[in-house]
């Protein structure tokens, strides 16, 4: 039974049925955290909320200013690309979503989100939080979806070092705080603290989104490769609100942001 499940998709309909059936239990299981959030909000002093509101307004102003600069740079980049007869870069739009369930096992890193087919979600769609890439959608239902996180041991993502553009593959290790770069030669130009972003190779993840930063580099005795541990940029086990990324390639959500 395990072998059949591992090597075939014969049980996928059972899994989908179970996903649908278990959803109400996820809803009930989230009640304590919702009550906690509500109690937290209710017990917060008015002056604290006002201060936070002011801080958020200031932050919003700063980001809007930076966005204007970004728009200018994007337009300039587009003009230069046209001059070079290069292809136009794809524009991404996003959809905000909320986590409604987390896999209870430390061996399988998946989570359920409250967006599904009716919102245009599709299998393979990237998701991210405010800090970086989180994973991709693996199952879509009418009103919810299941995402595989980048830290799952079956997941791999093409990345590049921001400093020098060196490409590699970051693999999950079943540890929420660790990814690994494999088959990097001992002469590879990589340092502790280097930022890694998605390279866009393979076409699954859009390029340029933060994946993580190099935490440690170790030499494996007797091997020609080094072991590079990466701390994910996203708060994999903490983020509650996520973003679904739609590239213009998908055609379902062109340039709209929610």
């Amino acid at each position: 039974m395990m072998t059949i499940h591992y090597y075939t998709n014969w049980f996928s309909s059972i899994e989908k049925f179970a996903d649908r059936s278990i959803r109400p239990f996820y809803w009930v299981a989230n009640i304590p955290s919702r009550i906690g959030e509500w109690a937290d909000l209710s017990s917060t002093d008015r002056s604290v909320i006002e201060k936070e509101n002011l801080r958020l307004k200031q932050e919003s102003l700063i980001y809007r200013g930076q966005l204007q600069r970004m728009a200018e740079l994007a337009a300039e980049n587009l003009r230069l690309r046209l001059l070079l007869n290069a292809t136009e870069l794809l524009t991404d739009s996003i959809l905000v979503t909320e986590v409604i369930g987390v896999s209870p096992s430390s061996k399988s890193h998946t989570l359920s989100i409250d967006r599904g087919l009716k919102d245009g979600v599709y299998v393979g769609q990237p998701i991210l939080d405010a800090e970086g890439l989180m994973g991709q959608i693996i199952s879509v239902f009418e009103n919810h979806s299941v995402a595989l996180l980048i830290t799952d041991n079956t997941h791999a993502i093409p990345v590049q070092v921001l400093r020098n553009g060196m490409r590699s593959i970051a693999e999950g290790t079943s540890d929420y705080n660790n990814l690994q770069l494999r088959f990097l030669s001992t002469t590879a130009d990589i340092r502790v603290g280097d930022e890694l972003v998605s390279s866009g190779l393979g076409g699954r993840f859009p390029p340029g989104y933060p994946v993580g930063s190099v935490l440690s580099i170790g030499k494996i005795p007797g091997e020609n490769f080094i072991e590079v541990n990466v701390r994910p940029a996203a708060e994999i086990d903490r983020s509650k609100h996520l973003l679904l990324v739609f590239t213009s390639q998908d055609g379902s959500r062109n340039g709209n942001s929610q």
Binding site: M1, H5, Y6, I22, F25, P104, S105, S108, S174
Partner: protein
């Protein structure tokens, strides 16, 4: 009928407790509520809730944990077999002894589960094995009291 409803309700409660999200740091400490509930019912009513029951809950656990189908079926049947065979003695033990028995069973279950995951190529950390067993042993007295009450009312 009421007895069967109690079992179903307890399983649903175990499922909800299993699904409550916790941060990664606390995940190894999370007890396997479904397995605990199986052990409990098998100890107190092995003739009605035996190996077939353990296999059914194992299948449910496979679907909830997104593990290869059959992994938890095997695990629950294997672990459930011990209380099934020893239930005649276990119901006369006091709660501390049953607590120790559950602790040992959970340790075995974690070791076996980790071994089977490692067969499928999943990286496992054997250092996390005792934490789930300790937390399971801590909550067992509450579960034990509930099961003893149900068992006595049934008589």
């Amino acid at each position: 009928m009421r007895y069967a409803l109690t079992v179903i309700f307890s399983l649903m409660l175990a499922l909800v407790l299993q699904l409550i999200p916790v941060s990664a740091d606390w995940l190894p400490w999370k007890p396997n509520f479904l397995l605990l509930m199986v052990i409990g019912w098998v100890i107190f009513k092995p003739s009605q809730w035996g190996i077939g029951f353990a296999a059914s809950v194992g299948l449910l656990a496979d679907l909830v944990f997104r593990s290869p189908l059959g992994l938890h079926v095997f695990l629950f049947v294997f672990i459930g077999a011990a209380p099934y065979l020893l239930s005649g003695w276990l119901i006369y033990f006091n709660v501390i002894h049953r607590c120790f028995f559950v602790f040992i069973l959970i340790i075995f279950s974690e070791l076996l589960g980790n071994f089977m995951y490692s067969v499928w190529g999943v990286p496992v950390d054997y250092r996390d094995v005792p934490w789930g067993a300790i937390s399971s042993a801590v909550i067992w007295p509450f579960m034990d009291k509930f099961l003893v009450n149900v068992h006595n009312n049934r008589r």
